[in-house]
Symmetry: C2
Subunit: 427 residues, 2 copies
């Protein structure tokens, strides 16, 4: 056992492990409580960076944005019609139309400001700037050009009618986005409309990923007996990036205390969050709890959930760490519970598994009281079926599944035919 | 009017426009019907590409994937304990324990296969390969090492107990993903686990974007009267990319028939979808319907929705085109209705505005029968308020909003206090 020589490792005899196993995770707590503990310990990212507005999509503003101009920025027509002086239209009706002189036209894109004289009308298209002296637009349906020079109008218009003010959309000095606003596509459009070329945003959270496991090999290696390809890590990478994080480190490491400790020490201080997989249970090579205790502390060590019990949340060498179990299903369930929470705290972005829907259960499902069961379901005729195979190591039970059903700690299960709220694993 | 000289343009006199305005969009149809028409005309992307599995996240498989190996690939222990021959344990109990000789140990990561002899037990950790001749694992809790060489066991185990088969997760020749499966993080993990280094996927849909409008200028230009920054285009770009598309072209163009026609001609055949903004209404410079009719056809010209009525769906120079209105709110609403539909048809990815939730209305909202109203709401104490300012040109009514309420064509509105289903604009 490599660990016996380690200065970092409190030697655990096999008999000690037995008692560890018997008492299980003495500090096991509910998932919700564990999430709250994580939230209590997480720190805001305070570093900011100034970026081009065109790169600001899905970034979080580090200060509020105040408009220094109005939008649209000029008084414009809200209709296709004729710009008029409203007082020239008073009394017009179908039976007693008023004639105005057509003195010009203005279109969207015309940059020369026209001037309206008394008794005249200027053809105007929707969105075109209102001529000087005009105070209303009469809609095309309410008048007729009886010849090239003469407009006959059939109704009067009040001052301001069919005119959009220059600050109809945004006023000068208006707070258009508050600090921490996440820039979505239409937000980007508003920033660009205001001519804002750069914005200050929080830098992306930096994540370090470490797969631990002496059995792990790279995808291009020939597997020896007992070896498996390191597959959690690439999945965690893409999921983290999807949530707006930057991958600062991504490595694989054998189950050796010194080696793991060295890697964590290298990562710490150079990232906001360390994510590890493996070594979180109570077997002979499960070193994560020890390493974290020795070089930091853990606030959560095991949660009352199935699958996914052996997860550790704490800090190591001063940096936040979420140590996921090595078994893939358990790893991804805890990723969803803890890593998504942390990354969304920083980035505010969407993740998978957020859509809820209702399904009818085609089978009864039992659950241990005191444990939150994470049950995979698959779409079936007239309801949802259980995914046949279970176990924290069975990745295909997740890739086959359409829904995740959470059976809370206080429930002992659901009867066949129950309508339950589930989360969609896929769109 | 530039268009008068255009060989592509059927001259429309201003009086013709008036009748066009009066009859409105004669072919106006409901949004749902228009979406179905788009779906009838959209073609599958058939070109595929072979990419690294590590780039396969959010890509759609172009053929099914069959495993050529089993997972985990070897028989392994499901528990920490001792590998035994089950028949050596028969009859063991607390009162009459059986002693076995401890002949070795095996851990995760050990690549040498051990062999179990009769009457012996081998220490084994969860996930470690089962020794030859062993057929069960006795849990650590059900036995005790009375000395270094001797294990005393207190219960019997049946053959296969606490052993995971080599194909427990995936069997050889199993179809693990069908054609058209979208690769999500856990799917990526399964592919990597199986040692699959490359996958065949459909290429990304290619989109061409054209903002039309003589009033449009770049963000770094000094605005003259009536000019506005081209802000729809960058927003459409990021939203398209978010949906898995590649931007083949992204350009701005004045309201001139020849110019627009040339651009569309350049794009067509070099992309899967052309998205334009502007020129879709019935004003003097609204050329899109004419250009599309002249060089292709439109299946949809106007839908009964507010805001967002002037939208055109068709094909031009043989390529699918979705011509969005120029006003930003109307553009984004139609983007959601049509562009998201098309891109999701190809990519299967998630978009914004997909989450539904229920809110209570703090105000009554009226709606014209026959029109689908897209109402922006904002989170408020004890319910949702209407966003004060309306109009297709008011982008800030979208950036301020938290929810989108759709009032169907057959309803005349909702009373204050109604509980309504809304779509979340933000997470």
């Amino acid at each position: 056992m490599q660990s016996l020589n380690s200065k970092y490792f409190n030697i655990i005899l096999f008999t000690d492990l037995m008692s560890a196993k018997w008492k299980g995770f003495s500090s096991t707590i509910r998932a919700e409580e564990a999430r709250n503990i994580l939230l209590e310990h997480i720190n805001n990212i305070i570093e900011t960076e100034r970026i081009s507005v065109f790169d600001a999509f899905n970034r979080k503003l580090s200060c509020e944005i105040v408009s220094d101009k109005s939008l649209p920025g000029f008084k414009r027509s809200a209709m296709d019609g004729y710009a008029v002086k409203s007082r020239n239209t008073f009394g017009a009706s179908d039976t007693s139309p008023i004639q105005l002189r057509i003195s010009g036209k203005t279109e969207i894109g015309d940059t020369e400001k026209l001037e309206l004289t008394d008794g005249a009308a200027i053809r105007i298209s929707t969105g075109a700037p209102l001529p000087d002296n005009a105070d209303a637009v009469i809609k095309i349906e309410e008048c007729e050009e009886i010849n090239e020079f003469t407009l006959e109008i059939y109704s009067s218009v009040a001052s301001g009618k069919n005119v959009a003010n220059e600050d109809e959309d945004v006023k000068i000095n208006e707070i258009i986005f508050s600090k921490n606003h996440l820039i979505l596509p239409w937000d980007l459009a508003l920033l660009v409309s205001l001519g804002i070329q750069e914005v200050d945003v929080y830098r992306k959270p930096k994540v370090a990923i470490l797969s631990t496991g002496s059995e792990l090999v790279a995808i291009n290696e020939v597997l020896k007996l007992g070896q498996v390809v390191d597959s959690n890590r690439p999945a965690i990478e893409v999921w983290c990036r999807y949530l707006g994080a930057e991958i600062a480190f991504s490595e694989t490491c054998v189950d050796e205390v010194d080696e793991i400790t060295d890697r964590l020490n290298k990562f710490a201080g150079n990232c906001d969050l360390i994510i590890t997989t493996g070594g979180t249970s109570v077997g002979t090579r499960d070193y994560m709890a020890e390493i974290i205790s020795k070089n930091g502390k853990h606030w959560v060590n095991g949660i009352s959930i199935r699958p996914g019990k052996p997860v550790i949340v704490g800090q190591v060498f001063g940096t936040l760490i979420i140590a996921l179990p090595g078994y893939p299903l358990a790893a991804f369930i805890n990723f969803d519970i803890f890593v998504v929470l942390a990354l969304q705290y920083w980035t505010g972005m969407s993740s998978y598994w957020e859509h809820e829907t209702d399904v009818k259960l085609n089978q009864s499902i039992a659950s241990n009281s005191g444990t939150r069961d994470m049950v995979r379901l698959v779409d079936a005729e007239d309801g949802a079926d259980l995914v046949r195979i279970t176990g924290a190591g069975i990745l295909s039970s997740l890739t086959r599944a359409d829904y995740l059903l959470e059976i809370p700690e206080d429930l002992e299960g659901y009867n066949k035919g129950s309508e339950v709220k589930v989360r969609r694993l896929r769109k």
